[in-house]
């Protein structure tokens, strides 16, 4: 009896497996009109918030209902898992067809994995003149074009008007030609806006730096390259020479910029140190939202993340002139890329064109919070901005594009991740107070970067 029962169970299991296998095949064969699927890997940058996921699904429905040959599917990956998941897909021979939205940093991080889209642009005779020039440049490298521009994220100062009013400090100028708006002026204002628990500001002799309740300025969401890109060094946001063989992270401008920050934290007290940052991180709040930071230097993507439901009035102002009398305002940019090992690359290219087309780019950028990289839709986008973020100076957003950092603070360099970590370790020394001398920090960081470059070039021709 037991023997029969066992055989029956074995037969049942075998039959189930066969039927399951056949079922899968039958389902494939019955797929309507053999649409080619383009999987869009989302998670390297923005796009994983629940409302964004919903909006992307609607976008997919829109595409799939209007296209006969191709279907799209957004694959949402938690941001903290993007590297392992993407690399697992690549090494498993299952590369997604499109990846994005990618910042310049994630393009750099996986630079060798991207397809050069130049042949596709040439074959389609695609006119790129409608894209902002800088947006195209940010995707163009000596040996490849990584993707069509989707959006730009210029940077500027977000400021809390209520705190300025309470301190009796004039708002930062919105006039891009006002040369009095310098890093020194920012420091001066920020100190007046920094308060201890007794209400004394950082310029008062009896100010208590151990009990600060309000800071004047914050730029803690960027790494060393982004923090120092605006200070006017010859290589702007790149810590190497143009041939990537010599480390130049100890340039006088970078040292000046880092010392300004170090003094801002430890001497003038208008910037919060690492303790303040970890406190915010553990509480899950951004530097601006709680209303205890008067000026926060960030990008357009912060509009979507941080400018909702504020309990105070806010506006935006240009980033100041650096000590060399130049204005540089670092920029971020997004695109979609095609992994070179992906299947159906032609279809991926078609979807990339659609996502960045004048007809749809505003919708896509509203999901991700970027400025559409096409000039022709600026007016339409402006109307959306007025609806979504009323009362801010939109001119600041568009004008800031002209002052982008070039070479960009996120762009590819050899051993990108390793050099980023080496530099950011230096920044962490300053923020933690472990080392307050910028020259010492950058001299050491530069030596480490040079060592990494030397090791790289020893094995790469």
């Amino acid at each position: 009896m037991k023997n029969k029962l066992f055989k029956l169970l074995a037969l049942f299991a075998l039959a189930s497996m066969v039927l399951t296998a056949c079922g899968g095949g039958a389902a494939t064969a019955a797929a309507p009109a053999e649409k080619v699927k383009v999987v869009i890997f989302v998670g390297m940058g923005t796009g994983t918030d629940p409302d964004q996921v919903e909006a992307q699904n609607k976008l997919a429905e829109k595409y799939n209902s209007t296209h006969d040959n191709i279907s799209i599917e957004f694959l949402i990956v938690p941001h903290e898992e993007y590297a392992t998941r993407y690399l697992a897909m690549l090494s498993g021979g299952n590369a997604p067809q499109l990846v994005g939205p990618n910042g310049i940093s994630s393009v750099a991080e996986f630079f060798d994995t991207w397809e050069d889209i130049t042949p596709y642009i040439t074959a389609d005779k695609l006119d790129l003149s409608d894209f902002y020039g800088p947006a195209v440049e940010l995707n163009t490298y000596p040996d490849k074009n990584t993707g069509l521009p989707l959006g730009l994220y210029p940077s500027y100062i977000y400021y809390n008007k209520d705190l300025f009013d309470a301190a009796g400090v004039d708002y930062p100028t919105h006039d891009f030609n006002d040369k009095s708006w310098t890093m020194d002026k920012l420091r001066e204002d920020a100190m007046k806006l920094t308060l201890d628990k007794n209400g004394k500001n950082a310029t008062d002799a009896d100010f208590d730096p151990a009990n600060i309740v309000q800071y004047g300025y914050d730029d803690s969401w960027d790494g060393m390259r982004g923090t120092l890109a605006d200070w006017g060094a010859e290589n702007v946001g790149r810590p190497t020479s143009a041939d990537y063989k010599t480390a130049v992270a100890d340039s006088p401008e970078w040292i000046q910029g880092l010392q300004w920050l170090s003094d801002g934290i430890w001497k003038d007290h208008f910037v919060g140190g690492l303790e303040v940052q970890t406190g915010r991180d553990s509480a899950g709040v951004d530097p601006f939202g709680p209303g205890t930071t008067a000026m926060f230097y960030s990008h357009t993507w912060f509009l979507g993340e941080g400018l909702h439901d504020l309990s105070f009035a806010a506006d935006i102002a240009p980033f100041p002139y650096n000590p060399k009398g130049e204005r540089i305002a670092r920029i971020d940019a997004d695109n979609f890329t095609i992994p070179k090992d992906a299947k159906n690359k032609q279809e991926a290219w078609e979807v990339m064109k659609w996502l960045t087309s004048p007809e749809i780019i505003v919708d896509v950028c509203r999901i991700y919070g970027c400025i559409p990289a096409r000039k022709s839709v600026q007016a339409t986008f402006l109307e959306q901005l007025k609806t979504d973020y009323p009362g801010i100076d939109y001119d600041v957003i568009f004008k800031s594009i002209d002052y982008l950092d070039k070479p960009n603070n996120e762009e590819w360099i050899p051993e990108w991740g390793k050099i980023e970590d080496a530099l950011n370790n230096g920044l962490s020394l300053v923020y933690s107070g472990e080392e307050k001398d910028a020259k010492k920090v950058l001299t050491d960081s530069n030596a480490e970067v040079q060592k990494i470059l030397d090791e790289y070039w020893a094995t790469h021709k």
């Binding site: 066992f6 392992t84 690399l87 690549l90 690492l274 303790e275 390793k418």
Partner: protein, 307 residues
């Protein structure tokens, strides 16, 4: 037992062996595919320059040689040893003491046992997020408590000199697993030994020192070996708390975090595989040392010393 098809002519022992193999086959196949396979693959990769994207290129012992010239390798190894040297003995003693307390005959003991075991079932990520909040100097609960007894709390996770201490404290919270094992060991100590000791006039301390402690050395040994391996695999909490950076100032750059960075951030998968094998050899060596030393301090009931 029923026969497998075509096995009627086999001897009973042979048939039983076949059945045994059939039953362990799912696990064996899984072990070969998901453990032995990746181990062998990583051994091969450790001799290659492999960036995941391109095919691996054989470079012989280069990764192993480079490893010994890598300052961060030594730095991360030092941090891991430092953490192990503090967290492991502290964890063993702390969990043993709790287990002794939980072995008391007091009312509501099952509730206390549950309370102490509960944290160990919480996922590492959740633990890290929770303790990140507790350690916060301004909004956390630890520093205000310290302030009440006149101690000015440090910046914990933002201070390079205190970050490891913070992680050690955090690790003590998850000793529930050890406690349960110790508790089982304590309850397995024959009561007649205590009775005999009492008859001989042994004090409570003497009963603990000369009965409880020797009789529970097998579980101490077990927890020591597993604790050692676990400590050298420390990763999740520090990855979550530092966003994978090992900061502040690389003070929490544990060996496994540096290994992870090499594999998935710098795409030096060959180098990371080398690191994995070096770690394996280190842990294996330390484990063998503990096994060798166990002859002198682990007592098994029914075992004659030296046999």
């Amino acid at each position: 037992m029923s026969s497998l098809p075509g096995t009627h002519r086999l001897s009973l022992a042979r048939r039983e062996a076949l059945w045994a193999y059939a039953f362990i086959a799912p696990w064996t196949i899984g072990f070969i595919i998901f453990t032995v396979g990746p181990m062998l693959a990583s051994l091969f990769f450790s001799f290659t320059d492999y960036n995941i994207i391109d095919a691996p290129r054989w470079i012989g012992l280069t990764n192993y040689i480079n490893l010994f010239h890598d300052d961060l390798f030594w730095h991360s190894l030092g941090i891991t040893f430092k953490f192990a040297a503090i967290a492991l003995p502290l964890g063993l003693v702390f969990s043993y003491l709790i287990a002794v307390l939980l072995n008391s005959k007091i009312s509501g003991i099952n509730i206390w046992r549950t309370v102490y075991f509960l944290p160990s079932v919480i996922a590492g990520v959740a633990v890290a997020l929770l303790w990140g909040r507790i350690f916060d100097p301004k909004f956390g609960i630890l520093n205000p408590l310290l302030e009440k007894i006149g101690i000015e709390g440090p910046g914990w996770l933002s201070d390079p000199h205190w970050a490891i201490s913070a992680l050690v404290i955090m690790s003590l919270w998850g000793v529930g697993g050890n406690v349960i094992i110790y508790l089982a060991g304590l309850q397995g100590v024959p009561t007649d030994l205590y009775d005999a000791a009492k008859v001989d006039g042994a004090t409570a301390w003497q009963r603990f020192r000369y009965v409880t402690l020797p009789m529970t050395t097998p579980v101490i040994f077990y927890n020591l070996v597993l604790g050692l391996i676990g400590t050298f695999q420390y990763f999740t909490e520090v990855y979550v708390l530092t966003n994978g950076t090992g900061n502040p100032a690389r003070s929490t750059l544990f060996y496994n975090l540096y290994l992870y960075q090499n594999a998935f951030k710098y795409f030096h998968m060959g180098y990371a595989s080398t690191m994995a094998w070096v770690l394996f050899i280190i842990v294996l060596g330390l484990t063998l040392l503990i096994f060798r030393s166990s002859d002198t301090w682990v007592f098994y009931e029914g075992q004659l010393r030296g046999k």
